[in-house]
Subunit: 154 residues, 2 copies
DNA sequence: CCTTATCAGTTTATACCTAAACTGATAAAA
DNA sequence: TTTTATCAGTTTAGGTATAAACTGATAAGG
């Protein structure tokens, strides 16, 4: 590949921007993921479990499919993650018709109230490299991207 | 948690923004990852392998540690991913002093020239929800975040 | 009533990723 | 020279994620 020659062509340039954005995004995400897991380790919670905890805690009651949709993961994945969380005694899974209704146990609520404020604070610190205005900008750009892509997939 | 009451407090609000940013970011990243893998499936390549292919192809020769640093992943992970890519005949791993020097095989170069332009085009389409100006803004914000966090970790 | 479709969740095989402990080689210090 | 430190890469155990095939229950159509 010949960077210097092709980058002067505008159409190539735009394509490059896409790849650059992908690289930046995935690097930052990976870093952020690792740091979050390290931070949550103190309470024996993974970032995935934390996300599930927040979703159930704020939208209870939820079914597994609804949860998977909210988290943008497959339902097969939910089976595994929720299985472990049930073992740990953080959630109830009650069969109801052909659905399973998810709620937090008292132990789950305890964890929720303990960990959510800490993690909020931690995530705020992760984005300290941007001022408040820039943070809102970033949120807005991500919102636009998601809306557009959702619209594309129908 | 009582959303409506606590969100009026400014300090709480800022912390919320951090959590919101994290959620948006991870949802978009997951979506993007899934779509990229689906797109690359045509050539039997995963997005991880693609990232490795690009790094080696553009920075050859590289050691495994250098590659891990560029991709922001652990060296243990590289051992596994590179092992598979070596089996597939895409890369050479030549022991040199106490390092292993990575280069692409002719088959690897073939794949590189076949897949990179397609994936560039695909990634460009992933960010079409933003105009060129907004894409540059996003890139800039991500760059700032990474620089700040790198500086923090020292 | 019986057949067929749909739907929620599970299972399986495979890949990715981490942290932490380990190996073996080179380099530095005693 | 012997010991100790460091460094690149590997291994292990465990969690996360997917796609695709499957199960079993409910719903719809014949």
């Amino acid at each position: 590949m010949n960077d210097k020659e092709t980058s002067s062509l505008p159409s190539r340039h735009e394509e490059r921007l896409g790849l650059l954005l992908w690289f930046r995004l995935s690097r930052f995400y990976n870093q952020s993921l690792r740091r979050s897991n390290a931070h949550l380790k103190e309470w024996g919670v993974t970032i995935t479990q934390f996300d599930v905890l927040v979703q159930i805690g704020t939208h209870e009651p939820l079914t597994q499919n609804e949860l998977a949709e909210k988290l943008f993961v497959t339902k097969g994945n939910m089976t595994q993650v929720l299985g472990r969380m049930e073992e740990l005694g953080w959630i109830h899974r009650d069969q109801e018709w052909r659905k399973k209704v998810l709620t937090l146990t008292s132990s789950g609520w305890e964890l929720f109230h303990l960990v959510v404020p800490r993690q909020e604070q931690f995530q705020a610190s992760q984005f300290q490299g941007l001022n408040k205005e820039e943070q809102k900008q970033l949120l807005d750009l991500l919102r636009k991207l998601q809306q557009y892509n959702e619209h594309m997939e129908g």
